[in-house]
């Protein structure tokens, strides 16, 4: 079975993001970029499925500026076999990404798409569900465990009250939650090997997709700042403050 893994280049999760002075967005120039952490989990899951002999080939896909190739290289160093870069400088929103991925899925015919449940930049949590819809496939979102069983997958999902297990027909989309696995670090030999793995580059027009955004960003602002309060000396003082000053207990 072939597995497709979409990977997104985002501002590294350790970076404290800054809103641009003109309110047009968040500063991404000169900021450390990395693979979206949920996508790392997706790549790891695909590599584990290959190690178990369930997957035969892993294709990593990234969409955006030319430097998304770096993110694909990271996936290749973790164990993906080849990459596809859809290059565009248009701002890509989940609907456009889902349409581009649908076109790639139709070309590549994977048995499974594993992807992060959410990108930590726009926090939309939408693309996997949307790709599943466009393909008419089942979705196993927020997965903390995935078992491939012949023509179906049994997916344990993280839901509000705990865990839920669903059975989905393959081909299907799985989106990863935090507890699915712990992604490996790429070893130096594997990083070297990844340089020789092929990355095919294409444009949205090659896939017949209009990637124009549907949402216009009117402005981006800093959230209201919380003031640091007071440090107290004792538990007794804390309880007194909560009762008499804050009046919350």
């Amino acid at each position: 079975m072939k597995i497709l893994v979409p990977v997104k280049r985002v501002v590294d999760y350790n970076v404290k993001v800054r809103v641009k002075a003109d309110g047009s967005g968040v500063e991404t120039q000169g900021v450390k970029m990395s693979m979206n952490p949920f996508d790392e989990i997706a790549v790891e899951e695909a590599v584990r499925l290959k190690e178990k002999g369930i997957a035969t080939e892993i294709v990593a896909v990234s969409l955006g500026l030319a430097n998304c190739a770096e993110t694909i290289r990271t996936a290749l160093a973790m164990g993906a076999d080849r990459g596809i870069l859809v290059e565009t400088d248009v701002e890509l929103q989940p609907l456009a990404v889902a349409k581009l991925l649908r076109a790639i899925v139709q070309k590549e015919q994977p048995g499974l798409v594993v992807m992060g449940k959410q990108a930590i930049d726009d926090d939309m949590n939408a693309t996997g569900q949307m790709l599943a819809a466009l393909l008419g496939w089942a979705q196993g979102t927020f997965a903390s465990k995935v078992v491939i069983d012949g023509s179906k997958a049994v997916v344990t999902r993280e839901v509000d009250g705990g865990l839920e297990t669903v059975e989905i027909h393959l081909p299907a989309i799985v989106t990863t939650d935090l507890r699915l696995n712990e992604p490996r670090y790429a070893s130096l030999p594997n990083i070297m090997k990844a340089r020789k793995k092929p990355i095919e580059t294409m444009k949205p027009a090659d896939l017949g997709v209009d990637p124009a955004p549907r949402l216009t960003t009117v402005s981006v602002a800093e959230p209201p700042k919380r003031q640091a309060g007071v440090k107290l000396k004792s538990v007794a003082e804390l309880v007194a403050k909560l009762k008499l000053e804050a009046k919350v207990i």
Partner: protein, 310 residues
Amino acid sequence: MTVLVLLDHEGSVIKQPSRSAVAAAMKLGEVHALVAGTNPEAAAAAAAIAGVAKVIVAGDVAYDHAMAEPLAALLVALAPGYTHLLAGSTAIGKNVMPRAAALLDVQPISDVAAVIDADTFIRPIYAGNALATVRSSDAIKVITVRAASFDPAPSEGGHAPIEAAAAVAIPSLSRFVSAELSKSERPELTAARVVISGGRGMQNGENFKLLDPIADLLGAAVGASRAAVDAGFVPNDYQVGQTGKIVAPDLYVAIGISGAIQHLAGMKDSKVIVAINKDEEAPIFQVADYGLVADLFTALPELADELARP
């Protein structure tokens, strides 16, 4: 404008995040509520919510576990009568709404924190470190609502008529197998007036029991940081943060939590924040109204004693 709100329900209870979605919907137009599944009590509960003008019931057993594939198909069938489709940002809303949006060729708007007008909304990005105002050009808007940002519509006061939805073909792509839900007598995290959360500083799952007497005294829900969940101290549904639950209680008590950005994203809208941590440099103190630099293993029993005092 007429707005359809997909409700999360359990027995005779409409979940609080869904009532927050109703409150958001009321800023947009007339509110219709959708109850899917074979739950006769839920329709009456939905009809009683103040602000709901009509309840639509899709009483097919296929909707009982709120699987995305059939629910999205149902929403798409109902969509032509509406300008907006809304749901709370719950596990169900997040799973279903983007699927419905794609079927409608619409870009969904996730986790809306404020309604500016029919097309324009504010939503957090980058773990709540920035707020984006976005305008949609789609003919129908598909939205999930950040429950902590809207006071829930009252569960009583409404008398909406109840109507059955026309049957819709059920896609047979997926099947519910089982659920393993945490059992607790405490209020739900997203609905509690007081939340007490433990972090890595709790050291193990057993120590989370130290939070119980305090939670009992305060009527609080118990939560956790991602570090505590990743370490296996408590189940995933305890997690408060960017990728867990977003809470905004009257009082949030953070115990042994350093205050990583992604945790703050889930609780910084709480009215009053208390932090107890032995590291006085912990970032949690930068957002806490009341901080106590102390070892939690001495502070927690003291806190329980102090609260128990009449």
